[in-house]
Amino acid sequence: MTQPEAVAPLLDVRDLHVEFRTRDGVAKAVNGVSYSVRAGETLAVLGESGSGKSVTAQAVMGILDSPPGYVTGGEVLFRGEDLLTMGGERRRRLRGAKISMIFQDALSALNPVMSVGAQLGEMFSVHDGMTRQDSRAKAVQMMERVRIPAAKERAGDYPHQFSGGMRQRIMIAMALALEPDLVIADEPTTALDVTVQAQVMDLLAELRREYRMGLILITHDLGVVADVADRIAVMYAGRIVETAPVHELYAAPAHPYTAGLLGSIPRLDHKGKELHAIKGLPPSLTDIPAGCPFNPRCPRARAVCRTDRPPLFDVAPGRASACHFWKETLDDAG
């Protein structure tokens, strides 16, 4: 703990494995994921459905549905301490106070029969042992922080009386109430309209700077990532296929899957032409292809891709790509 904060990562996920044991076989949802987040940094975990991005976060938070989900290997180090092996009570206390989570669907994540003021206040009275009155005042203060108009009057309202954007603000207020070191936001704005999404993302970015938190932003939206992230980890079939600082990744992807995703977005100069869709479908997690999991869909695939699983090659300082032909991919993109 004597290392300077800038060097020691806040959260260090190492070689995490998660599987789901289902009737149709074992689904390998996360297969050796490693990433780290430093204080004050925003890491975007980008992937499509079934990529394992949310499952990884659930395993980190310790909220994986078990059964059917099981963590079968790896470490999750929070300030150097492994969350997976620490006692349940200690982990529970870290959750909410030091690591908190923002969910996609605020309506189902909030208790429908408790006023939002009471729910926010509970955070303070349970974790900090505040009195009822103090915690209520703190709750209103928090609601003002996330810019809910007429916070004092609305503290007695129930979640369903708020609009989607306002509810997401309340979720953010709850996640930040105890000034955690790390916030995991799982598709925080996916359910919101564009104009409201912009409001909420702005608020989140501002509060992150103010509190100097680490933020893991889990999303499928390449636009949102470009707007707020410092670094990106792209996931496919339960693995990280590419990590890079955000500017470098958008300028020149080093993995064909990333390149394919970027090509799938409609752009101005593609008008009237075909979009560069990635052919085929993501693999079944019960039956991930041998070699590189992306090889059946990859335009660059050769014999080696069907037999040898590519490790994460170091491409440049702070950049890595799990592709045998990262050099060619990078050259073509540049």
Partner: protein, 329 residues
Amino acid sequence: MPEPEPREPGSLAPDEAVTPAGGGASSLATSDAETLEGGPIPGGTASGKARSLWSDAWHDLRRNPVFLVSALIIVFLVLIALWPGLIASGNPLQCDLAKAQEGSQPGHPFGFDTQGCDVYTRTVYGARASITVGICATTGAALLGSVLGGLAGFFGSWGDALLSRTADIFFGIPIILGGLVFLSVVTGGSLWPVVGFIVLLGWPQISRIARGSVVTARQHDYVQAARALGAGNTRLLLRHIAPNAVAPVIVVATIALGTYIALEATLSFLGVGLKPPTVSWGIDISNASTQIRNAPHMLLWPAGALSITVLAFIMLGDAVRDALDPKLR
């Protein structure tokens, strides 16, 4: 050991593409899919057979011990209801007063009742009344309830309001009081007034379930899609709504069957249901209840048979529900 969720399209969130669950179970949906070129994904063809939801449910049921046990009991009960002679050689109405209330003896394992009738034979023959009343009443209530509830749910408007309020009125009738009044007017002591009464009080429960599930099914996009194609109401109801709304009705009806059997026994116990010479567990329990101190065996056997029967149907209903709707677990 909890069974993993079978694939149930209805249970997938609409925004499956972005829910956390999409990381785990739902991505399995692609396991037997093919690439866009039409060729199968290598190694992904193992489960290429067409599987309907009913066969999925059957697949689940076959592995569920609760289902297997309850189904075995029910098959056994139905068999002895049809052919009691299979396991009982005596005549339930042939009694010997001299042996009244005697305990177990060779050839008469359950002993004798107050009239000197063989308790074993009467317990076996009693299954027929219970099973017949149960099945007939359930069929009647399910048909009446699902047709009325289904139509009300589909067409809505004033007919729906009228039906719902009527059902509420029937719900308000206390069953025992209603039974005492109804069955003392419609006399006879045979099966049919009892069946009739149970149908009369039972259909609102089924109609409520049927109405609810039709209302849910009606809102699905595939019904809208068929409507946009120009499909008429008959096609919508029979082809699109009924097959998707029938599962909850089946579940509730199966559980209701158990309670109807208990209700028949209760009414017979009170003396307004079935009457001798019909052999019924309810009648036997009623006769035995006065002698419970000196001859408990008279109560034990018919009451035990009744409990096991009711339990079997309720367990079956539970198992069927689990198989048809994994979300309810």
